[in-house]
Amino acid sequence: MDDRRALGQLSGPARSALVVLLIYVFLVGVSSLETGIKIMGEDTQERLFSTVSNPFAALCVGVLGTVLVQSSSASTSVIVGLVASGALGVGDAVPMVMGANIGTTVTNTLVSLGHIRQSNEFRRAFAAATVHDFFNVCAVALLLPLELLFGVVSKPAEWLSGSLVGSAGSDWKSPVKAWVKEPVGWLKDLWGAVVENPNLRGVGMVLTGLVIVLVALAFITRNMKKLVADRVERSVNALLGRGGGALALLLGVVITIAVQSSSITTSILIPLAGAGVVTLRNAYPVTLGANVGTTITALLAALAASKPEALTVALAHTTFNVVGILLLYVVPVARSVPLIGAERLADVAVERRSLAVAYVAVAFIIVPLLGVVLLG
């Protein structure tokens, strides 16, 4: 209890140092994940990932995985780790990343359900939450077919990654990979001493990596939130005075990079929208900025990977969101589509509140689950 209190009262520099340490632990987790998959035989890898060879099933896996861990930062980091291991190709990973974008919106939609007893408050809060869902679904509906046909998301990412660390198929000597090599080696030796079967050893490493990634990210987010809470409060207050637009979008990027979680950024907005302090139109660009800001974690994870493809997927997450904003926010006609959709859905949800709960269950669990079962 005292230790927990002491952690809660860390000074700014001490907390910053803790965050740096946690980022290192997070990178160890990503690298362990990659190593664990590599330890498994090729047959096992193929069996594990054959489900996602259908892009729509991969999309649904991305949604479900993200809903499960309530963080697209975590799920995309895991996807980056899988791509780094070679078990998952860029073509399969990109739809999963798009699914992660949709899945992450479940958190603020759940937060908005907290306002369900007050009609007007709920209407505003639910609309502010689901505008994020509508944008992400529209972006996927538009960009997934274009990606499958022309590679509009992965090709720019591939080009960028090739310019930065080399072309696909080559080995990238990441300095970060070298820094985390030692602790990953210890984990590998530990599992080697406990289990002889390479598949089980691989599973053990993967599970260890997953736990490390999730726990480290949760603590990074918690500590970063404490570190920057005053700054977030100040900048949101400035948003109230000056409205939405490009600056609000940029603010969403900055806050999300700082707290390493789009869910935190978007969830802060929900009570504000519910209370009528922020309008739907002003909240909307902040959530779009959060979409872009959250891609920083996968980029960070790609630093611990040994294949350029990992960075390609991380960059594809960024290009997907940036292209989505260019098509759906910058173009004035398209901008109002998610807003109108969210307002209509909120009206329906206020009329029949059970539908709001059903919407969350259907959109984030049942449909993706059916997608995996039927298409995978």
């Binding site: 920057v228 809470a229 005053d230 700054r231 977030v232 409060e233 100040r234 900048s235 949101v236 207050n237 400035a238 948003l239 109230l240 005075g241 000056r242 600056l247 609000a248 940029l250 603010l251 900055v254 806050i255 700082a258 802060i268 907005l269 009570p271 504000l272 209370a275 302090v277």
Partner: protein, 227 residues
């Protein structure tokens, strides 16, 4: 607003900015109150100050709305740990806003044609109005103190409450007076407004020390201060 994120922390603490704006609002409320009582107790034309009082009231209302939003942002970002302070500030801001309204009410007496400069007790009325005016400055000082001085607050509350009792007695005296209605009714109304302004001032200061449920109530929650 993005640059705001990168600006260094001011070191004012969580509510330093709210307190400093609340003190400014209190200064504005005093300005309106002084102008309104000056017009009512003299032969000055209310038209000379009406716009100033209404603009000041508008400024107070605007500040109250902005600060309320900021308090909601505070809870959204930092959670419910400060909820007591947030509700206390909401109450405090509302009280300052009410004083602005009460100054407007006093102005409306003058705009309705009431003049008290000829009243036999004008010096007493001026003295009472002046006493309340000085309480504004004290309230501002107590509110902006880095550390709440419980004794100073208790002393302030005791003095203002004594004045409130006196204002209450005077109001009742005018209500039951045998003097003509046109002389005593405006005085009774004025004393009711003065009593409310004083009660709001003591309420503003007490929000900084009293548990929230007790603010505006005296003697263990049995007596309503009726502000």
């Amino acid at each position: 607003m993005v640059l705001e994120f990168f600006r260094r922390n001011s070191g004012e603490g969580d509510f330093g900015h709210i307190v400093s704006r609340a003190v400014t609002m209190l200064g504005d409320a005093r300005h309106s109150y002084d102008l309104a009582t000056l017009v009512l107790l003299s032969n000055a034309d209310p038209g000379n100050v009406a716009q100033d009082i209404r603009d000041t009231d508008q400024r107070i209302n605007q500040a109250e709305q902005e600060l309320r939003s900021e308090l909601i942002v505070h809870v959204s970002v930092k959670g419910a740990a400060d909820i007591g302070s947030v509700l206390g500030f909401t109450l405090l801001l509302k009280k300052i806003e009410r004083i602005g309204d009460q100054a407007k009410n006093i102005l409306e007496l003058a705009e309705g044609g009431v003049r008290m400069s000829g009243a036999p007790e004008i010096d007493v009325v001026r003295g009472d109005c002046g006493a309340i005016s000085t309480f504004f400055a004290e309230a501002g000082t107590l509110l902006s103190a880095a550390d709440v001085d419980d004794e100073a607050v208790a002393d302030y509350a005791a003095r203002v409450n004594a004045v409130i009792d006196d204002l209450h007695d005077k109001m009742n005296g005018y209500m039951t007076s045998d003097r003509p209605g046109r002389d005593v009714v405006p005085l009774a109304i004025l004393y009711r407004y003065l009593r409310r302004v004083a009660a709001n001032l003591v309420g503003i200061v007490r929000t900084s020390v009293e548990p929230l449920p007790h603010v505006d109530y005296l003697e263990g929650g049995t007596v309503d201060t009726d502000d």
